[in-house]
C-alpha cells in the first residue's frame, strides 16, 4: 500500500544537523578557532579572499571553518555575504610602487635597486615533511639585519625598462569609468580591466592550467618575470561627505609584472610587452598565472593569431569563475528524473522500432 | 521644500512595478495606480511613481519641455532617484512626457540595436484619459483576440508612428501610458489601428 508523503523538509533539517556534528568532529579534540585559521592558514585565507573578491581575513577564516576547509565552499560563503553589504564607493587606485615590500624578486636582472629580497617563502625549501611540526613547540625567532640604504626605494622593474623605452607603456588613464563585471553583464570583446577583474576572482586552478598551457605552445608569449612583489599597500577612499582621501588601513597584495615577447612594426621599434597580475594576500602562484593569461588574452589587441584557449576571451571569462563552475557542475546532482523520463521514453520507443525493422535504421536512404 | 517620496519605498515601488508589468504584459488592460505621492507640479503622481520605482543612477532620464521648465521637478527626481537627467532623447532609458500632445516623434528616441533591442527608450506619457473598450484597436502578444483603448490627448500621427515602430520590431520604443490613478501599456509588439 503506497501513500504519497512529504519527507523533503525533515530530511534537509536532519542533514544539516548531521553536518554540524560532523564538522565539529571528535569533541575530545579542541575546537579549531577562527583566529588560528587566520594566523596559521594565512595562504589559504588569502586564496579565499582573492577568489571571494572580498578582503576580510577574519571573515575568510570563519568561512573556511564553516566550510570544513573546502575552498570553493568558503569562497561561495564570502561571495554571498558580500552581496548583502552596501558599497560605499571605489578606492583611490592602490600604488604598488609604494608597497612596504616583504618579498621582492626579479628574474630579469641579477641585482636592482631595493635588491632581491626573498621574504617568507617556500622557495628553496626542500619539500621534506617536517615531523617536528607535528609537535607543538617554540619557533626559532627570525633573523634580523640592518636594512640597506636603498631598501625603502623599490622601483618597479617595468618602470626601469619603460624609462629606456624598452617596454610598452601601460594603458593610459583617461578618467573613463572602470567596468565592473559584478554590476554590468559582460559583453564580448571585454575590456582588459574587466578581464583582470575576472582573472583576479577566477579559480586559481583554472587560471593556473591556462597559464601553463601558454608555456607549452598553446599561445606562447615568451614570458619573463620582470618582478614579483609581496607586501602591504595603503588603501584610501574619497567619501562624498569629506571630499579628501581617507586612509582605510593597509592591505597585503601580491603583484606580478610579466615581460613578454617584444613586438614592433615598420613604424615603431620593437618593445617588450606586458602581462599583469594582482591578488590579495601572498598569492604568488595566482598573480603569476594571472599575468600570463592577461598577456595571452591580449593576442587580438596585439595582432597575434588567436589559436589557443588561453587567448580566447569568451572561453576564459565564461569558465574561470569557480562559483559558476561548481554551481553548474554540481547542479547535476539535483533531481532530473522528469527529463530522464523523457529520454527513457524515446530510447524505449527507438529500441522497440529497432526490433520491428529487419535491417538497421541507418541503411534507410536519408534525404541528404 | 522637497516633496517626500514613497511612504513605504520597498512595497510602494513593488506595487507600482507590478501594475506596470501587468499593463505591458496585457496591452489594452488598464490597471489602477494610486501611489499617494504629491510631487511638484507639473510632474503627475503617476509619472513620479514610475520614475521612483524604475529609474536610478544607471538610467538616464529625459524630461519633456513641460517638465524640464520646472526646476523643482528635476530636484525632486535627482533626490529621490539619483537618475542622471539627459537633454538627448536618443540617450534616454526613460522619457517622462507631461504634455503628450507635443510628444517628440518616436524616432528621436533610442530604438535599441538588432543584437540588443532591450536598450531602447521607454516613454512614460501623462494622458488625461485612458478608456477601455473603445477607440484604438489593439492586437498582438498579451491580447486575447483584440482589445480597444481610447487615449487622450495624443500627438498627431500617433497611430502612424506606432505602425512604423511596430514595423521595426524587434527594435522600437515601448510606451507606458498613465492617466489620473491609472496605468496602461503599449509595448512595441502591439499592432495598433484606428478601426
Amino acid at each position: 500500500m503506497y501513500v504519497a508523503v512529504k519527507g523533503g523538509e525533515a530530511a534537509i533539517d536532519n542533514a544539516h544537523r548531521l553536518l554540524a556534528e560532523v564538522r565539529r568532529g571528535d569533541p575530545a579534540v579542541p575546537e579549531l578557532s577562527v583566529a588560528q585559521i587566520r594566523a596559521q592558514m594565512a595562504l589559504l585565507v588569502d586564496r579565499v579572499m582573492t577568489e571571494g573578491s572580498l578582503h576580510d581575513p577574519d571573515l575568510a577564516a570563519l568561512a573556511l571553518k564553516q566550510a570544513r576547509g573546502d575552498v570553493v565552499e568558503a569562497v561561495f560563503l564570502v561571495r554571498a555575504f558580500r552581496t548583502t553589504l552596501p558599497r560605499f564607493g571605489a578606492s583611490v587606485p592602490v600604488d604598488t610602487g609604494a608597497m612596504a615590500v616583504e618579498r621582492r624578486i626579479s628574474a630579469t636582472f641579477k641585482d636592482l635597486p631595493g635588491g632581491q629580497v626573498l621574504g617568507p617563502t617556500f622557495d628553496y625549501t626542500h619539500r621534506l615533511i617536517d615531523f617536528a611540526l607535528a609537535a607543538e613547540g617554540e619557533v626559532e625567532p627570525a633573523a634580523e639585519a640592518e636594512p640597506r640604504a636603498d631598501a625603502a626605494l623599490c622601483p618597479r622593474v617595468t618602470d626601469l625598462l619603460a624609462r629606456d623605452g624598452l617596454i610598452e607603456a601601460s594603458p593610459m588613464d583617461e578618467g573613463a569609468p572602470v567596468g565592473d563585471l559584478t554590476r554590468e553583464p559582460v559583453d564580448y570583446p571585454a575590456d582588459r580591466a574587466l578581464r583582470l577583474q575576472a582573472l583576479a576572482r577566477g579559480d586559481e586552478g583554472f587560471v593556473l592550467g591556462l597559464a601553463y598551457s601558454t608555456q607549452r605552445g598553446y599561445g606562447r608569449t615568451h614570458p619573463f618575470v620582470g618582478e614579483i612583489r609581496v607586501g602591504e599597500v595603503a588603501v584610501a577612499f574619497v567619501p562624498e561627505e569629506l571630499g579628501f582621501a581617507v586612509p582605510l588601513g593597509r592591505v597585503r597584495l601580491t603583484e606580478c609584472q610579466m615581460v613578454n615577447q617584444f613586438k614592433g612594426s615598420g613604424a615603431t621599434p620593437p618593445q617588450f610587452t606586458r602581462g599583469y597580475g594582482l591578488s590579495f594576500g601572498q598569492s604568488e602562484r595566482k598573480a603569476m598565472a594571472m599575468a600570463l593569461v592577461d598577456r595571452a588574452l591580449r593576442a587580438e589587441e596585439l595582432g597575434e593569431p588567436v589559436t589557443s584557449p588561453a587567448q580566447d576571451q569568451e572561453f576564459v571569462l565564461a569558465h574561470c569563475d569557480s562559483l559558476q563552475a561548481t554551481g553548474f557542475v554540481e547542479h547535476l546532482k539535483l533531481p532530473h528524473y522528469v527529463d530522464f523520463q523523457a529520454e527513457l521514453e524515446l530510447v524505449r520507443r527507438l529500441r522497440a522500432e529497432f526490433e520491428q525493422k529487419p535491417e538497421p535504421v541507418e541503411m534507410q536512404e536519408a534525404a541528404e | 521644500m522637497l516633496a517626500p517620496g514613497f511612504a513605504d519605498p520597498v512595497h510602494d515601488a513593488q506595487a507600482t512595478f507590478r501594475a506596470v508589468m501587468e499593463a505591458l504584459a496585457r496591452p489594452g488592460l488598464v490597471r489602477p495606480l494610486a501611489p499617494g505621492l504629491q510631487p511638484p507640479a507639473p510632474l503627475t503622481p503617476e509619472l513620479a511613481a514610475i520614475a521612483l520605482a524604475l529609474t536610478d543612477a544607471d538610467t538616464p532620464v529625459w524630461l519633456d519641455p513641460a517638465l524640464a521648465e520646472a526646476p523643482a521637478v528635476a530636484a525632486y527626481l535627482r533626490f529621490h532617484t539619483g537618475a542622471p537627467l539627459t537633454a538627448d532623447p536618443a540617450r534616454a532609458a526613460f522619457a517622462l512626457v507631461r504634455d503628450p500632445a507635443r510628444c517628440p516623434p518616436f524616432d528621436r528616441f533610442a530604438p535599441g540595436t538588432p543584437a540588443y533591442p532591450d536598450t531602447s527608450t521607454t516613454l512614460v506619457l501623462a494622458l488625461d484619459t485612458i478608456t477601455e473598450g473603445m477607440g484604438l484597436h489593439l492586437t498582438g502578444p498579451g491580447i486575447r483576440g483584440t482589445a480597444r483603448m481610447a487615449l487622450a490627448p495624443l500627438p498627431d500621427g500617433f497611430v502612424g508612428q506606432l505602425a512604423t515602430n511596430r514595423a521595426d520590431f524587434p527594435l522600437g520604443i515601448d510606451l507606458i501610458l498613465t492617466a489620473p490613478g491609472r496605468v496602461a501599456g503599449l509595448p512595441r509588439s502591439t499592432t495598433v489601428t484606428e478601426a
Binding site: 579572499m49 578582503h55 576580510d56 629580497v117 633573523a143 601601460s170 580591466a193 583582470l196 582605510l248 588601513g249 | -
Partner: protein, 156 residues
C-alpha cells in the same frame, strides 16, 4: 604620512587629519579606547549609526596604467558629533564598529586646534608601537636580502 610642512595651511590640516586617521586605522580597538580615556571620553552623538559596507579596491593595469577593479574590501564607517557640534568621521578596513566610533571621536577632537596637541600626545604610544613594528618587519625582511655586491668603501 607625516604632514607636508611646505603645503598651504588647509592642505597641512587635511594632511595632518589624514595622518591621525591612518594611525587610528592601523591601531587596534583597545589602543583607541585608552587614548579616548586619556582625553576624558567626551559625550558624543551618532550622526549616522556605524555601518559595515564595502569599498571596491582598484589597482592599475601594469601597476601604473588605467584603473581596474581588483576586488572589494570590507569597511566600517562611523560619523559622530561632539557636544560643540564638531563632526568626526572614520572609515576603517574590517567590521569593528566600536573601533570606528572611537576613531571618529578622535577625528572630531583633533579638528579643534586647542585640543590637537593633547590628542596627538594621547596617540603617541600608538604611533611608537606602530613605528617599532614597522622597523622590526623591515629588519626581518632585510635579513632575507640576497647580497651580490658590497661597496668596497665598507658601506654595508
Amino acid at each position: 604620512m607625516a604632514p607636508d610642512p611646505t603645503g598651504s595651511a588647509p592642505d597641512r590640516t587635511i594632511a595632518g587629519r589624514q595622518a591621525v586617521m591612518a594611525l587610528c586605522a592601523d591601531a587596534d580597538r583597545d589602543d583607541l579606547a585608552a587614548a579616548l580615556e586619556a582625553l576624558g571620553s567626551p559625550a558624543t552623538q551618532d550622526l549616522r549609526a556605524p555601518e559595515t559596507g564595502l569599498v571596491m579596491a582598484t589597482g592599475r593595469i601594469g601597476g601604473d596604467g588605467r584603473p581596474f577593479n581588483l576586488g572589494e574590501v570590507s569597511v566600517t564607517r562611523a560619523a559622530i558629533r561632539l557636544a560643540d557640534g564638531t563632526s568626526g568621521f572614520a572609515y576603517h578596513l574590517g567590521r569593528d564598529r566600536t573601533k570606528a566610533r572611537h576613531a571618529a571621536i578622535l577625528d572630531a577632537l583633533w579638528q579643534d586646534p586647542a585640543r590637537r596637541g593633547r590628542v596627538e600626545a594621547a596617540l603617541a604610544p600608538v604611533a611608537q608601537r606602530a613605528e617599532a613594528a614597522r622597523v622590526q618587519a623591515a629588519r626581518h625582511t632585510a635579513a632575507t636580502r640576497v647580497d651580490f655586491l658590497t661597496l668596497a668603501r665598507g658601506e654595508d
